[in-house]
Protein backbone atom coordinates (compact mmCIF):
# COMPACT_ATOMS: atom_id res chain seq x y z
CA UNK A 1 0.00 0.00 0.00
CA UNK A 2 3.01 2.24 0.23
CA UNK A 3 3.60 3.63 -3.24
CA UNK A 4 7.29 4.30 -2.78
CA UNK A 5 9.23 2.93 -5.66
CA UNK A 6 12.37 4.38 -7.09
CA UNK A 7 11.38 6.24 -10.25
CA UNK A 8 13.89 5.43 -12.95
CA UNK A 9 15.26 7.92 -15.46
CA UNK A 10 13.63 5.98 -18.29
CA UNK A 11 10.25 6.48 -16.63
CA UNK A 12 10.80 10.20 -16.26
CA UNK A 13 11.84 10.46 -19.91
CA UNK A 14 8.72 8.56 -21.03
CA UNK A 15 6.48 10.74 -18.87
CA UNK A 16 8.04 13.86 -20.34
CA UNK A 17 7.80 12.63 -23.92
CA UNK A 18 4.18 11.61 -23.39
CA UNK A 19 3.15 14.90 -21.81
CA UNK A 20 5.02 17.08 -24.32
CA UNK A 21 3.51 15.10 -27.18
CA UNK A 22 0.04 15.63 -25.70
CA UNK A 23 0.43 19.40 -25.60
CA UNK A 24 1.93 19.51 -29.10
CA UNK A 25 -0.97 17.48 -30.55
CA UNK A 26 -3.44 19.64 -28.64
CA UNK A 27 -1.83 22.79 -30.09
CA UNK A 28 -1.87 21.45 -33.65
CA UNK A 29 -5.46 20.18 -33.50
CA UNK A 30 -6.55 23.46 -31.91
CA UNK A 31 -4.84 25.57 -34.59
CA UNK A 32 -6.40 23.58 -37.42
CA UNK A 33 -9.74 24.51 -35.90
CA UNK A 34 -11.61 21.37 -36.98
CA UNK A 35 -13.36 21.09 -33.64
CA UNK A 36 -15.10 24.07 -32.11
CA UNK A 37 -14.52 22.72 -28.63
CA UNK A 38 -10.76 22.45 -28.95
CA UNK A 39 -8.82 25.68 -28.83
CA UNK A 40 -5.02 25.64 -29.10
CA UNK A 41 -3.14 25.05 -25.89
CA UNK A 42 -1.31 28.39 -26.20
CA UNK A 43 -4.64 30.24 -26.16
CA UNK A 44 -5.90 28.19 -23.20
CA UNK A 45 -2.66 28.78 -21.32
CA UNK A 46 -3.01 32.52 -21.99
CA UNK A 47 -6.54 32.47 -20.55
CA UNK A 48 -5.35 30.50 -17.56
CA UNK A 49 -2.51 32.93 -16.95
CA UNK A 50 -4.80 35.96 -17.12
CA UNK A 51 -7.37 34.29 -14.86
CA UNK A 52 -4.64 33.53 -12.34
CA UNK A 53 -3.00 36.94 -12.40
CA UNK A 54 -5.57 39.63 -13.20
CA UNK A 55 -7.85 40.32 -10.25
CA UNK A 56 -7.46 37.39 -7.89
CA UNK A 57 -11.05 36.30 -8.50
CA UNK A 58 -9.96 32.79 -9.36
CA UNK A 59 -7.96 32.47 -6.15
CA UNK A 60 -10.83 33.76 -4.01
CA UNK A 61 -13.08 31.22 -5.73
CA UNK A 62 -10.54 28.47 -5.10
CA UNK A 63 -10.26 29.43 -1.44
CA UNK A 64 -14.06 29.42 -1.11
CA UNK A 65 -14.43 25.98 -2.65
CA UNK A 66 -11.52 24.53 -0.71
CA UNK A 67 -13.00 25.94 2.51
CA UNK A 68 -16.17 23.94 1.93
CA UNK A 69 -14.12 20.87 1.03
CA UNK A 70 -12.05 21.21 4.18
CA UNK A 71 -15.05 21.66 6.48
CA UNK A 72 -16.73 18.58 5.00
CA UNK A 73 -13.48 16.63 5.10
CA UNK A 74 -13.02 17.30 8.79
CA UNK A 75 -16.54 16.08 9.57
CA UNK A 76 -16.14 13.06 7.30
CA UNK A 77 -12.89 12.00 8.96
CA UNK A 78 -14.18 12.37 12.52
CA UNK A 79 -17.47 10.62 11.80
CA UNK A 80 -15.85 8.06 9.51
CA UNK A 81 -13.17 7.02 11.99
CA UNK A 82 -15.69 6.79 14.82
CA UNK A 83 -18.19 4.70 12.85
CA UNK A 84 -15.41 2.62 11.31
CA UNK A 85 -13.98 1.88 14.74
CA UNK A 86 -17.42 0.83 15.90
CA UNK A 87 -18.11 -1.52 12.98
CA UNK A 88 -14.55 -2.82 13.10
CA UNK A 89 -14.59 -3.71 16.77
CA UNK A 90 -18.20 -4.64 17.51
CA UNK A 91 -19.75 -7.64 15.77
CA UNK A 92 -23.22 -6.26 16.40
CA UNK A 93 -22.35 -2.91 14.84
CA UNK A 94 -20.75 -4.73 11.91
CA UNK A 95 -23.81 -6.89 11.34
CA UNK A 96 -26.22 -3.97 11.44
CA UNK A 97 -24.26 -1.06 9.98
CA UNK A 98 -22.00 -2.68 7.36
CA UNK A 99 -24.82 -3.50 4.94
CA UNK A 100 -26.03 0.11 5.19
CA UNK A 101 -22.53 1.51 4.60
CA UNK A 102 -21.97 -0.83 1.65
CA UNK A 103 -25.33 0.09 0.17
CA UNK A 104 -24.59 3.79 0.52
CA UNK A 105 -21.16 3.27 -0.98
CA UNK A 106 -22.65 1.56 -4.04
CA UNK A 107 -25.37 4.18 -4.48
CA UNK A 108 -24.99 7.28 -6.65
CA UNK A 109 -24.84 9.99 -3.98
CA UNK A 110 -25.82 12.67 -6.50
CA UNK A 111 -29.36 11.50 -5.84
CA UNK A 112 -29.51 13.63 -2.70
CA UNK A 113 -28.91 16.85 -4.61
CA UNK A 114 -32.52 17.60 -5.66
CA UNK A 115 -33.79 17.46 -2.07
CA UNK A 116 -30.74 18.79 -0.23
CA UNK A 117 -32.07 22.34 -0.52
CA UNK A 118 -35.23 21.37 1.37
CA UNK A 119 -33.39 20.16 4.45
CA UNK A 120 -30.13 22.07 4.60
CA UNK A 121 -30.38 24.88 2.07
CA UNK A 122 -28.25 25.40 -0.98
CA UNK A 123 -25.55 27.34 0.80
CA UNK A 124 -22.72 26.35 3.11
CA UNK A 125 -24.54 23.69 5.19
CA UNK A 126 -25.93 21.89 2.15
CA UNK A 127 -22.60 21.93 0.37
CA UNK A 128 -20.69 20.71 3.41
CA UNK A 129 -23.20 17.90 3.83
CA UNK A 130 -22.68 16.91 0.21
CA UNK A 131 -18.92 16.77 0.81
CA UNK A 132 -19.47 14.59 3.87
CA UNK A 133 -21.68 12.20 1.89
CA UNK A 134 -19.01 12.00 -0.79
CA UNK A 135 -16.12 11.36 1.57
CA UNK A 136 -17.34 9.62 4.71
CA UNK A 137 -17.92 6.08 3.44
CA UNK A 138 -14.41 5.45 2.23
CA UNK A 139 -13.12 6.50 5.66
CA UNK A 140 -15.59 4.20 7.43
CA UNK A 141 -14.74 1.20 5.25
CA UNK A 142 -10.98 1.63 5.55
CA UNK A 143 -11.01 2.33 9.28
CA UNK A 144 -13.20 -0.70 9.85
CA UNK A 145 -10.82 -2.91 7.85
CA UNK A 146 -7.87 -1.47 9.75
CA UNK A 147 -9.41 -2.20 13.13
CA UNK A 148 -10.32 -5.73 12.03
CA UNK A 149 -6.77 -6.61 11.03
CA UNK A 150 -5.29 -5.75 14.42
CA UNK A 151 -3.44 -8.96 15.35
CA UNK A 152 -5.64 -10.85 17.85
CA UNK A 153 -2.49 -11.93 19.70
CA UNK A 154 -1.66 -8.34 20.53
CA UNK A 155 -5.14 -7.75 21.89
CA UNK A 156 -4.96 -10.90 24.00
CA UNK A 157 -1.63 -9.79 25.36
CA UNK A 158 -3.11 -6.39 26.16
CA UNK A 159 -5.90 -8.11 28.05
CA UNK A 160 -3.43 -10.26 30.00
CA UNK A 161 -1.51 -7.14 30.99
CA UNK A 162 -4.76 -5.51 32.01
CA UNK A 163 -4.64 -2.57 29.66
CA UNK A 164 -7.69 -0.36 29.89
CA UNK A 165 -9.91 0.19 26.86
CA UNK A 166 -8.37 3.62 26.31
CA UNK A 167 -4.86 2.21 26.53
CA UNK A 168 -5.72 -0.56 24.09
CA UNK A 169 -7.12 2.00 21.68
CA UNK A 170 -4.18 4.34 22.05
CA UNK A 171 -1.32 1.83 22.13
CA UNK A 172 -2.50 -1.06 19.99
CA UNK A 173 -5.54 -0.49 17.83
CA UNK A 174 -4.76 3.01 16.54
CA UNK A 175 -1.10 2.39 15.60
CA UNK A 176 -2.03 -0.89 13.97
CA UNK A 177 -4.95 0.56 12.02
CA UNK A 178 -3.18 3.83 11.18
CA UNK A 179 -2.06 2.87 7.65
CA UNK A 180 -5.62 1.89 6.77
CA UNK A 181 -7.08 5.06 8.25
CA UNK A 182 -4.45 7.03 6.36
CA UNK A 183 -5.47 5.39 3.10
CA UNK A 184 -9.10 6.22 3.79
CA UNK A 185 -8.15 9.81 4.57
CA UNK A 186 -6.17 10.09 1.36
CA UNK A 187 -9.06 8.85 -0.76
CA UNK A 188 -11.46 11.07 1.17
CA UNK A 189 -9.34 14.15 0.43
CA UNK A 190 -9.84 13.79 -3.31
CA UNK A 191 -13.53 12.99 -2.86
CA UNK A 192 -13.98 16.07 -0.66
CA UNK A 193 -12.65 18.40 -3.33
CA UNK A 194 -14.87 16.62 -5.84
CA UNK A 195 -17.91 16.94 -3.60
CA UNK A 196 -17.24 20.64 -3.02
CA UNK A 197 -16.99 21.29 -6.76
CA UNK A 198 -20.19 19.34 -7.39
CA UNK A 199 -21.89 21.43 -4.71
CA UNK A 200 -20.64 24.65 -6.29
CA UNK A 201 -22.00 23.48 -9.64
CA UNK A 202 -25.34 21.94 -8.70
CA UNK A 203 -26.46 23.55 -5.46
CA UNK A 204 -26.12 27.33 -5.46
CA UNK A 205 -23.61 28.06 -8.22
CA UNK A 206 -20.68 29.88 -6.68
CA UNK A 207 -16.89 30.09 -6.51
CA UNK A 208 -15.17 27.59 -8.84
CA UNK A 209 -18.52 26.38 -10.14
CA UNK A 210 -19.38 29.96 -11.11
CA UNK A 211 -16.01 30.45 -12.81
CA UNK A 212 -16.60 27.31 -14.84
CA UNK A 213 -20.24 27.91 -15.76
CA UNK A 214 -19.68 31.59 -16.64
CA UNK A 215 -17.09 30.59 -19.20
CA UNK A 216 -19.30 27.76 -20.45
CA UNK A 217 -22.50 29.74 -20.80
CA UNK A 218 -20.89 32.60 -22.68
CA UNK A 219 -19.09 30.13 -24.96
CA UNK A 220 -15.64 31.47 -24.19
CA UNK A 221 -14.28 28.07 -25.00
CA UNK A 222 -10.62 28.81 -24.33
CA UNK A 223 -11.59 30.21 -20.95
CA UNK A 224 -13.74 27.14 -20.20
CA UNK A 225 -10.90 24.80 -21.10
CA UNK A 226 -8.58 26.87 -18.93
CA UNK A 227 -10.95 26.53 -15.95
CA UNK A 228 -11.36 22.78 -16.48
CA UNK A 229 -7.59 22.48 -16.69
CA UNK A 230 -7.21 24.51 -13.51
CA UNK A 231 -9.61 22.24 -11.64
CA UNK A 232 -7.76 19.17 -12.90
CA UNK A 233 -4.48 20.62 -11.64
CA UNK A 234 -6.09 21.52 -8.31
CA UNK A 235 -7.36 17.95 -7.93
CA UNK A 236 -3.94 16.55 -8.84
CA UNK A 237 -2.24 18.82 -6.31
CA UNK A 238 -4.69 17.69 -3.62
CA UNK A 239 -3.99 14.06 -4.46
CA UNK A 240 -0.22 14.54 -4.32
CA UNK A 241 -0.48 16.37 -1.00
CA UNK A 242 -2.71 13.66 0.42
CA UNK A 243 -0.38 10.94 -0.78
CA UNK A 244 2.58 12.70 0.80
CA UNK A 245 0.67 13.01 4.06
CA UNK A 246 -0.31 9.35 3.91
CA UNK A 247 3.31 8.29 3.55
CA UNK A 248 4.23 10.35 6.59
CA UNK A 249 1.61 8.53 8.61
CA UNK A 250 2.61 5.10 7.37
CA UNK A 251 6.15 5.74 8.58
CA UNK A 252 4.67 6.70 11.94
CA UNK A 253 6.98 5.24 14.60
CA UNK A 254 5.17 2.48 16.39
Amino acid sequence: MNPTKAVTTATVIRWTVSVVLFFVVWEIVGRRGDYTAIKPFSQVAGQLWSAMTVDGGLWRATAGTLGIALAGYAVAVVVGVAVGYLTGSSPVAAATLDPLVNAAYATPVYMVIPVLGIYLGLEFAGKVFLVVVFAVFVVIINTSAGVRQVPPGLLEMATSFRLTRAQKLRRIILPSAAPYIATGMRLAAGLSVQGAIVGELLLRVDNLGLQLLNAGSSFQIARLLAMSFFIAMLATATMLLARWAERRVIRWPR
Binding site: T11, W15, S18, V92, N102, T107, P114, V150, A232
Partner: protein, 289 residues
Protein backbone atom coordinates in the same frame (compact mmCIF):
# COMPACT_ATOMS: atom_id res chain seq x y z
CA UNK B 1 -20.13 -8.84 4.74
CA UNK B 2 -16.61 -9.31 3.54
CA UNK B 3 -17.27 -6.94 0.66
CA UNK B 4 -15.86 -4.16 2.79
CA UNK B 5 -12.56 -5.97 2.94
CA UNK B 6 -12.54 -6.52 -0.78
CA UNK B 7 -13.25 -2.87 -1.41
CA UNK B 8 -10.31 -1.83 0.64
CA UNK B 9 -7.71 -4.08 -0.88
CA UNK B 10 -8.85 -3.13 -4.33
CA UNK B 11 -9.83 0.49 -3.79
CA UNK B 12 -6.80 1.33 -1.72
CA UNK B 13 -4.55 -0.07 -4.37
CA UNK B 14 -6.15 1.33 -7.45
CA UNK B 15 -6.84 4.81 -6.25
CA UNK B 16 -3.19 5.16 -5.32
CA UNK B 17 -2.57 5.48 -9.02
CA UNK B 18 -1.22 2.87 -11.34
CA UNK B 19 2.33 3.21 -10.09
CA UNK B 20 1.23 2.93 -6.52
CA UNK B 21 -0.96 0.03 -7.50
CA UNK B 22 1.84 -1.91 -9.02
CA UNK B 23 4.29 -1.06 -6.29
CA UNK B 24 1.81 -2.31 -3.72
CA UNK B 25 1.77 -5.89 -4.84
CA UNK B 26 3.08 -8.53 -2.59
CA UNK B 27 1.94 -6.56 0.40
CA UNK B 28 -1.55 -7.94 0.55
CA UNK B 29 -2.81 -8.17 4.09
CA UNK B 30 -5.57 -10.49 4.96
CA UNK B 31 -8.54 -8.71 6.38
CA UNK B 32 -10.27 -10.66 9.09
CA UNK B 33 -13.98 -10.18 9.15
CA UNK B 34 -15.52 -9.84 12.53
CA UNK B 35 -17.45 -12.93 13.50
CA UNK B 36 -21.17 -12.54 13.05
CA UNK B 37 -22.98 -12.26 16.37
CA UNK B 38 -25.71 -14.67 17.33
CA UNK B 39 -29.20 -13.57 16.32
CA UNK B 40 -27.86 -11.41 13.47
CA UNK B 41 -31.30 -10.82 12.07
CA UNK B 42 -32.75 -9.91 15.44
CA UNK B 43 -30.12 -7.20 15.80
CA UNK B 44 -30.72 -6.03 12.26
CA UNK B 45 -34.46 -5.94 12.74
CA UNK B 46 -33.95 -3.86 15.88
CA UNK B 47 -31.51 -1.34 14.39
CA UNK B 48 -33.04 -1.05 10.93
CA UNK B 49 -36.54 -1.05 12.35
CA UNK B 50 -35.46 1.67 14.75
CA UNK B 51 -34.20 3.80 11.88
CA UNK B 52 -37.48 3.33 10.02
CA UNK B 53 -39.47 4.28 13.11
CA UNK B 54 -37.31 7.37 13.46
CA UNK B 55 -38.08 8.27 9.84
CA UNK B 56 -41.79 7.70 10.34
CA UNK B 57 -41.92 9.87 13.46
CA UNK B 58 -39.91 12.62 11.73
CA UNK B 59 -42.32 12.43 8.80
CA UNK B 60 -45.36 12.74 11.10
CA UNK B 61 -43.85 15.71 12.86
CA UNK B 62 -42.74 17.61 9.78
CA UNK B 63 -45.57 16.84 7.38
CA UNK B 64 -45.52 15.58 3.79
CA UNK B 65 -44.15 18.87 2.47
CA UNK B 66 -40.84 18.03 4.16
CA UNK B 67 -40.72 14.27 4.55
CA UNK B 68 -43.20 11.69 3.26
CA UNK B 69 -44.24 8.86 5.57
CA UNK B 70 -43.06 5.34 4.77
CA UNK B 71 -46.51 4.09 3.70
CA UNK B 72 -46.94 7.04 1.36
CA UNK B 73 -43.55 6.33 -0.24
CA UNK B 74 -44.32 2.65 -0.67
CA UNK B 75 -47.95 2.99 -1.77
CA UNK B 76 -48.47 6.40 -3.38
CA UNK B 77 -44.87 6.93 -4.46
CA UNK B 78 -44.19 3.51 -5.92
CA UNK B 79 -47.70 3.51 -7.39
CA UNK B 80 -46.96 6.70 -9.31
CA UNK B 81 -43.58 5.34 -10.40
CA UNK B 82 -45.31 2.33 -11.91
CA UNK B 83 -48.39 4.13 -13.28
CA UNK B 84 -46.70 7.16 -14.85
CA UNK B 85 -44.18 5.10 -16.80
CA UNK B 86 -41.17 6.12 -14.72
CA UNK B 87 -40.09 2.49 -14.75
CA UNK B 88 -39.72 2.73 -18.50
CA UNK B 89 -37.66 5.92 -18.16
CA UNK B 90 -35.43 4.14 -15.69
CA UNK B 91 -35.09 1.16 -18.02
CA UNK B 92 -34.12 3.45 -20.89
CA UNK B 93 -31.55 5.18 -18.71
CA UNK B 94 -30.14 1.79 -17.76
CA UNK B 95 -29.93 0.75 -21.39
CA UNK B 96 -27.85 3.84 -22.20
CA UNK B 97 -25.77 3.16 -19.14
CA UNK B 98 -25.08 -0.33 -20.43
CA UNK B 99 -23.96 1.02 -23.82
CA UNK B 100 -21.54 3.38 -22.11
CA UNK B 101 -20.38 0.69 -19.74
CA UNK B 102 -19.61 -1.79 -22.50
CA UNK B 103 -17.57 0.90 -24.26
CA UNK B 104 -15.82 1.69 -20.97
CA UNK B 105 -14.85 -1.97 -20.48
CA UNK B 106 -13.82 -2.32 -24.12
CA UNK B 107 -11.41 0.57 -23.61
CA UNK B 108 -10.48 0.01 -19.99
CA UNK B 109 -9.72 -3.69 -19.77
CA UNK B 110 -7.38 -3.98 -22.81
CA UNK B 111 -5.68 -0.70 -21.89
CA UNK B 112 -5.28 -1.97 -18.35
CA UNK B 113 -3.83 -5.29 -19.49
CA UNK B 114 -1.37 -3.40 -21.70
CA UNK B 115 -0.43 -1.08 -18.84
CA UNK B 116 0.00 -4.00 -16.49
CA UNK B 117 2.20 -5.98 -18.83
CA UNK B 118 4.34 -3.29 -20.43
CA UNK B 119 6.29 -0.76 -18.43
CA UNK B 120 6.64 1.50 -21.48
CA UNK B 121 2.89 1.70 -22.02
CA UNK B 122 2.40 2.23 -18.30
CA UNK B 123 4.83 5.14 -18.22
CA UNK B 124 3.34 6.72 -21.32
CA UNK B 125 -0.28 6.53 -20.15
CA UNK B 126 -0.03 6.91 -16.39
CA UNK B 127 0.17 10.76 -16.36
CA UNK B 128 -3.25 10.94 -18.05
CA UNK B 129 -4.85 8.09 -16.20
CA UNK B 130 -3.75 9.47 -12.84
CA UNK B 131 -4.74 13.05 -13.63
CA UNK B 132 -8.11 12.12 -15.11
CA UNK B 133 -8.77 9.74 -12.24
CA UNK B 134 -8.48 12.47 -9.61
CA UNK B 135 -10.14 15.19 -11.69
CA UNK B 136 -13.81 15.65 -10.81
CA UNK B 137 -15.51 14.54 -14.03
CA UNK B 138 -18.40 16.88 -13.24
CA UNK B 139 -16.08 19.81 -13.96
CA UNK B 140 -15.65 18.49 -17.50
CA UNK B 141 -19.39 18.35 -18.23
CA UNK B 142 -19.66 21.86 -19.79
CA UNK B 143 -16.76 20.98 -22.08
CA UNK B 144 -18.30 17.64 -23.02
CA UNK B 145 -21.60 19.34 -23.80
CA UNK B 146 -19.88 21.76 -26.16
CA UNK B 147 -18.20 18.81 -27.86
CA UNK B 148 -21.07 16.36 -28.04
CA UNK B 149 -24.27 18.31 -27.48
CA UNK B 150 -26.81 17.11 -24.91
CA UNK B 151 -28.10 13.97 -26.63
CA UNK B 152 -27.32 10.29 -26.41
CA UNK B 153 -23.67 10.81 -27.36
CA UNK B 154 -23.12 13.14 -24.43
CA UNK B 155 -24.70 10.76 -21.93
CA UNK B 156 -22.71 7.79 -23.19
CA UNK B 157 -19.45 9.77 -23.10
CA UNK B 158 -20.08 10.83 -19.51
CA UNK B 159 -20.79 7.23 -18.46
CA UNK B 160 -17.59 6.09 -20.19
CA UNK B 161 -15.55 8.79 -18.47
CA UNK B 162 -16.98 7.82 -15.10
CA UNK B 163 -16.72 4.10 -15.56
CA UNK B 164 -13.51 3.19 -17.34
CA UNK B 165 -10.98 3.84 -14.56
CA UNK B 166 -11.74 0.89 -12.34
CA UNK B 167 -11.72 -1.74 -15.09
CA UNK B 168 -8.47 -0.19 -16.32
CA UNK B 169 -6.65 0.20 -13.01
CA UNK B 170 -7.79 -3.16 -11.71
CA UNK B 171 -6.87 -5.02 -14.89
CA UNK B 172 -3.43 -3.41 -14.69
CA UNK B 173 -3.06 -4.43 -11.05
CA UNK B 174 -4.36 -7.93 -11.83
CA UNK B 175 -1.89 -8.54 -14.63
CA UNK B 176 0.91 -7.18 -12.47
CA UNK B 177 -0.11 -9.56 -9.70
CA UNK B 178 0.59 -12.63 -11.83
CA UNK B 179 3.27 -14.85 -10.36
CA UNK B 180 6.37 -14.36 -12.54
CA UNK B 181 7.75 -17.74 -11.49
CA UNK B 182 4.69 -19.46 -12.88
CA UNK B 183 5.15 -17.67 -16.19
CA UNK B 184 8.81 -18.63 -16.30
CA UNK B 185 8.02 -22.24 -15.49
CA UNK B 186 5.36 -22.27 -18.20
CA UNK B 187 7.87 -20.89 -20.67
CA UNK B 188 10.47 -23.45 -19.62
CA UNK B 189 7.99 -26.22 -20.35
CA UNK B 190 6.99 -24.67 -23.69
CA UNK B 191 3.38 -24.37 -22.57
CA UNK B 192 1.06 -23.24 -25.41
CA UNK B 193 -0.07 -19.63 -25.15
CA UNK B 194 -3.75 -20.40 -24.68
CA UNK B 195 -2.93 -22.74 -21.79
CA UNK B 196 -0.86 -20.01 -20.17
CA UNK B 197 -3.78 -17.67 -20.66
CA UNK B 198 -6.36 -20.12 -19.36
CA UNK B 199 -4.45 -21.53 -16.40
CA UNK B 200 -2.15 -18.71 -15.26
CA UNK B 201 -3.29 -15.32 -16.52
CA UNK B 202 -7.02 -15.73 -16.09
CA UNK B 203 -7.10 -17.19 -12.57
CA UNK B 204 -4.64 -14.56 -11.34
CA UNK B 205 -6.09 -11.49 -13.00
CA UNK B 206 -9.74 -12.58 -13.19
CA UNK B 207 -10.83 -11.56 -9.70
CA UNK B 208 -9.20 -8.14 -10.12
CA UNK B 209 -10.97 -7.59 -13.42
CA UNK B 210 -14.33 -8.62 -11.95
CA UNK B 211 -13.76 -6.27 -9.03
CA UNK B 212 -12.94 -3.54 -11.53
CA UNK B 213 -16.12 -4.27 -13.45
CA UNK B 214 -18.16 -4.14 -10.24
CA UNK B 215 -16.69 -0.81 -9.12
CA UNK B 216 -16.92 0.51 -12.69
CA UNK B 217 -20.60 -0.36 -12.88
CA UNK B 218 -21.22 1.63 -9.70
CA UNK B 219 -19.38 4.56 -11.25
CA UNK B 220 -21.38 4.18 -14.47
CA UNK B 221 -24.58 4.54 -12.48
CA UNK B 222 -23.19 7.69 -10.88
CA UNK B 223 -22.25 9.02 -14.31
CA UNK B 224 -25.72 8.29 -15.62
CA UNK B 225 -27.46 10.11 -12.78
CA UNK B 226 -25.25 13.20 -12.94
CA UNK B 227 -25.29 13.42 -16.74
CA UNK B 228 -29.07 13.25 -16.82
CA UNK B 229 -29.52 15.57 -13.88
CA UNK B 230 -27.32 18.16 -15.57
CA UNK B 231 -29.49 18.37 -18.68
CA UNK B 232 -32.78 17.48 -16.90
CA UNK B 233 -33.40 14.31 -18.86
CA UNK B 234 -34.33 10.72 -18.10
CA UNK B 235 -34.12 9.34 -14.58
CA UNK B 236 -31.75 12.03 -13.29
CA UNK B 237 -34.02 14.69 -14.73
CA UNK B 238 -37.02 13.05 -13.06
CA UNK B 239 -35.29 13.12 -9.68
CA UNK B 240 -34.45 16.78 -10.16
CA UNK B 241 -38.03 17.72 -11.09
CA UNK B 242 -39.60 15.61 -8.36
CA UNK B 243 -37.39 17.37 -5.83
CA UNK B 244 -38.15 20.79 -7.27
CA UNK B 245 -41.93 20.20 -7.28
CA UNK B 246 -41.77 18.59 -3.84
CA UNK B 247 -43.36 15.33 -4.94
CA UNK B 248 -41.28 13.78 -2.23
CA UNK B 249 -43.14 10.48 -1.97
CA UNK B 250 -42.43 9.78 -5.65
CA UNK B 251 -38.89 11.10 -5.31
CA UNK B 252 -38.08 8.72 -2.47
CA UNK B 253 -39.78 5.81 -4.23
CA UNK B 254 -37.69 6.35 -7.36
CA UNK B 255 -34.59 6.82 -5.21
CA UNK B 256 -35.34 3.53 -3.46
CA UNK B 257 -35.58 1.82 -6.83
CA UNK B 258 -32.16 3.15 -7.84
CA UNK B 259 -30.57 2.18 -4.52
CA UNK B 260 -32.00 -1.34 -4.72
CA UNK B 261 -30.74 -1.72 -8.30
CA UNK B 262 -27.27 -0.53 -7.31
CA UNK B 263 -27.11 -2.81 -4.28
CA UNK B 264 -28.39 -5.90 -6.09
CA UNK B 265 -25.95 -5.54 -8.99
CA UNK B 266 -23.09 -4.77 -6.62
CA UNK B 267 -23.79 -7.74 -4.35
CA UNK B 268 -24.18 -10.11 -7.29
CA UNK B 269 -20.80 -9.14 -8.69
CA UNK B 270 -19.23 -9.20 -5.23
CA UNK B 271 -20.53 -12.75 -4.75
CA UNK B 272 -19.05 -13.76 -8.09
CA UNK B 273 -15.75 -12.19 -7.02
CA UNK B 274 -15.71 -14.25 -3.84
CA UNK B 275 -16.46 -17.31 -5.91
CA UNK B 276 -13.33 -16.52 -7.95
CA UNK B 277 -11.21 -16.00 -4.84
CA UNK B 278 -11.97 -19.02 -2.68
CA UNK B 279 -8.91 -18.39 -0.52
CA UNK B 280 -10.50 -15.19 0.74
CA UNK B 281 -13.55 -17.03 1.88
CA UNK B 282 -11.31 -19.02 4.19
CA UNK B 283 -10.46 -15.97 6.28
CA UNK B 284 -14.04 -15.10 7.04
CA UNK B 285 -15.33 -15.98 10.42
CA UNK B 286 -12.26 -15.43 12.57
CA UNK B 287 -12.92 -12.78 15.13
CA UNK B 288 -10.28 -10.09 15.42
CA UNK B 289 -11.57 -8.13 18.34
Amino acid sequence: MSTAGTDVSVGGRTAGGVLGALAGRGQRRTVLTTAAPRHVWLWRAAVWGGLLVLWQVAAWLSGPFYLPTIPSVLVDGLGTVVRDGYLLTFAQSLRQLLVGFVVACAIGIPAGVLMGSSKVVRDLLSPYVNTLFVTPTEALLPMIIIMFGTGLEYRVVVVVLFAFFFPLLNSAAGVAAIDRHLLETARAFCTPRWRVFRHILLPAAGPYVVAGVRLGLGMALKGMVIAEMWVTFGTGGLLKNLGAYRQLDVYFALGLLIVVTAVVVNSALAAYERHLRPWQRGTIGKGAA
